[in-house]
Symmetry: C2
Subunit: 346 residues, 2 copies
C-alpha cells in the first residue's frame, strides 16, 4: 500500500493499463485467459493505490514466467467434491485463474448450502489478496481467504524463518457504502512493502525484521538479503501465520512455505503453495439484515473516533483513478514498454 | 492462562471438581443439562491451568444468574437452515449448551458437505473459547470460532472503546500428538487475565490498555475501572476484532459488544452477544493426509527453534492434573463451598 516512486506520474485510463498488462503477460507465455485475469488483478491494485501489488510486480511476473517456474498457460482442474466443497488443482499455474474457473460453482454452493469452501493447490499467488474476496462482498456474501507464501518470517520464539508472510483477507457487504475489506500480511510488514522501502532507500520502524544474523534491524535491504521478517503482534500474529499454513497448505494439499525448491529457476519470484477461500451467505442466518448491521458497525466506529476504516483508502484512490486515470510513474510506464518489447525481463 | 493465586493448593480429582461446579450451577438456577455443560467447561479450564477461565469465573457466573440477566434453564432452539448452515437461538441462555444442542447436526453436515457453519445468537459466553473447538480436532476436523463480548477495547486509531476482547480460537488435528489449538483475545490481553493481575496487585506490560482519561497505563485496576484495553498488534489486531463483531454478531443476529444494556441487572458479568463456529472436514480436500501434514508443520516449527507450540502448555498441565488431580487454591475451594451453601454470590 506504499506510494509509487517519486518522480513524474502519468495518468492512464484503467482499460488502457489493463490492456498493456495483458499484452505483456501474453508476450511472456500466458494464455489469453490467464493474462486477462492477471492483468485485471494487477491493474486494480494500481488503480486502488496498492502499489506494492500493482505495476511494481510486473518484472517479477515476467522473470518468473521466463524462468519456467510457473505455467502461464495452465488450465485449472475444478473438482466438485461435496455439497459445500470445491477443490482446484491449479496445475502449476496462477491462483487467480483457478479461483476464476471455480467461482460460479462456488457461489452456487454458497447460495444453496449457506457456506462453502474453495481449496486451491499447486498454485502460485503473487498478488494482493483483497481482489479475491472483495467481489463476493459486492454480491452480498462474506468472504475470508488465506494464502501461504515463502519462508521469510521467523515464528515468535523461534530462531529461524519458517512461515511466509501469509496474509488473511476478509470482505463483507455494507449497506449503502463500499464493502468492508481488509487484507493483512501476518508478518509485521508485507514483503512488497519491504521491497518498496528498499528501493526508495527508506528505513523501517523497529520490530519489522531481523538481519542475516537474526539481530533486529530497520534496514529493509538487510531483511531482504539473508534476513527475515517477524510476525505482527508477537505470539498471536505468529499463531495466525501458523493457521494460514495449515489452512492454505495442509488442508488444500498445497506446499508449505518452505517446501518448494526454486533454485533451478533463477528469476522465479512466485511462491508455489495453496489458497483457501471460505464464503458465507449471511442471508441464511438470523442476521438476514447483515448489510444493515454492518453499516451500523461502521457508524459506531466513526463515532468512536476512527477516521479511516479498513479498505477506505483504496476506495478513495479508486474514485480518483476512475475520474483522472490510474497513476503510474513515468519510470514504471517506460518499464512496461520495455517488458512488452523484450523477450527477457528487465 | 495465569497462575492461580499464591497460597496453599489442594489437588481435586476432575470428576469431583466437576460435580461440585455442577451443584453450584444448579443451586443458582441452571437446569441440570446446562449445569452439566458449564461445569465440564469450567473444570476443563481449571484442569488445563487456564485459570482465568476456571474456578475463578464461578462468582461471576453465580452473580450473573442471581441478577436475572441470563436464563440458566434456557432450552436452545436449533434450526436446520441449509445443507451447511445451522442456526441456534440460545434464548438468552449460555452459548455452550447451544453448541451442545446443535453439535451432532453440525458434524453430520460437515461430513456431508465438507464445511458447515453454526451461528449462535441470543447467547452468553463467559468461558474460554478453546473448549468449543478442540473436540472437533479430536474427531479429525478443523474448527475456527469467534465470539464477541462487551465494549472494553479501543479500536486502533479511535478515541473510545467499542469492541469486545473478541477472541478467535482454532483447532486442527495433528497425527500422533495432541491437536494444535489456540485461543487468543484480539485485545492485547484477555479480560480475565487483567482481572487476575488486578487481584494479585501486578503491573501489566506497556501497550495493554488505557485509563479512564484514555492515557496509556500499566495498572490493571485503571483499565478495569473506567479505562479500556487496546487491540493486539495495532491496526491488524483491530481489523480482526472488527471481523469478529461482523461474524459473531452481525452474521448470527446477535448483539454487537456495545448493544446490550445490563444496567438493570447489578452483578451481571456475561456478555449477551453471538458466536460463529466454522468446521471443515479436511478429508474432502486434496490434503486428505491433513493430520500427517499438520505433524510435519509441528516438526518444522521445533526445528526452527520453537520450544512451545500453541496449546502445548495446556496439554502439559492437563497431564499433571490427570495424574495428581486438578490444582485449586484452598481459598478458591473454600469459595466454592460458600457458593454452594449460599443463595447469594460471594
Amino acid at each position: 500500500m506504499s506510494a509509487p516512486s517519486t518522480g513524474p506520474v502519468v495518468r492512464v485510463p484503467l482499460a488502457q493499463l489493463q490492456e498493456r498488462l495483458q499484452q505483456i503477460f501474453q508476450r511472456h507465455g500466458c494464455s489469453e485467459a490467464v493474462a486477462a485475469v492477471l492483468a485485471a488483478n494487477c491493474a486494480s491494485a494500481q488503480r486502488d493505490g496498492a502499489h506494492s501489488h500493482g505495476v511494481f510486480r510486473m518484472p517479477g511476473y515476467v522473470s518468473t514466467l521466463a524462468s519456467g517456474w510457473v505455467d502461464g498457460a495452465a488450465v485449472p482442474e475444478v473438482t466438485d467434491v461435496a455439497p459445500a466443497f470445491v477443490r482446484v488443482d491449479a496445475r502449476g499455474g496462477f491462483a487467480q485463474p483457478a479461483l476464476a474457473a471455480a467461482r460460479t460453482l462456488l457461489v452456487e454452493k454458497v447460495r444453496q448450502a449457506g457456506i462453502a469452501v474453495l481449496a486451491i493447490h499447486n498454485s502460485h499467488h503473487f498478488a494482493a489478496l483483497w481482489p479475491d474476496v472483495e467481489p463476493f462482498a459486492e454480491e452480498g456474501l462474506v468472504a475470508l481467504s488465506v494464502v501461504n507464501s515463502m519462508t521469510c518470517v521467523v515464528p515468535h520464539g523461534a530462531r529461524k524463518p519458517l512461515f511466509g508472510t501469509n496474509p488473511i483477507a476478509f470482505a463483507a457487504p455494507c449497506q449503502g457504502l463500499a464493502p468492508i475489506v481488509f487484507d493483512m500480511a501476518t508478518s509485521a510488514m508485507a514483503h512488497g512493502d519491504v521491497q518498496i522501502a528498499a528501493r526508495q532507500g527508506e528505513q523501517l520502524p523497529p520490530g519489522v525484521g531481523v538481519d542475516a544474523e537474526g539481530e533486529p534491524t530497520t534496514d529493509p535491504k538487510a531483511i531482504l538479503e539473508g534476513g527475515a521478517l517477524l510476525p505482527f503482534g508477537g505470539h498471536k500474529g505468529s499463531a495466525l501465520s501458523m493457521m494460514v499454513e495449515l489452512l492454505a497448505a495442509a488442508l488444500t494439499g498445497g506446499h508449505f512455505s518452505w517446501e518448494f525448491d526454486w533454485s533451478q529457476h533463477p528469476g522465479a519470484k512466485t511462491p508455489w503453495t495453496g489458497q483457501l477461500i471460505i464464503v458465507i451467505d449471511p442471508s441464511k442466518a438470523e442476521g438476514g439484515r447483515f448489510a444493515e448491521r454492518s453499516r451500523a458497525l461502521v457508524e459506531q466506529m466513526h463515532t468512536a473516533g476512527l477516521s479511516r476504516l479498513p479498505g477506505e483508502r483504496r476506495f478513495r484512490e479508486r474514485a480518483v483513478s476512475q475520474r483522472e486515470g490510474v497513476a503510474v510513474s513515468e519510470q514504471e510506464w517506460q518499464g512496461l514498454e520495455r517488458l512488452l518489447a523484450s523477450d527477457r525481463p528487465m
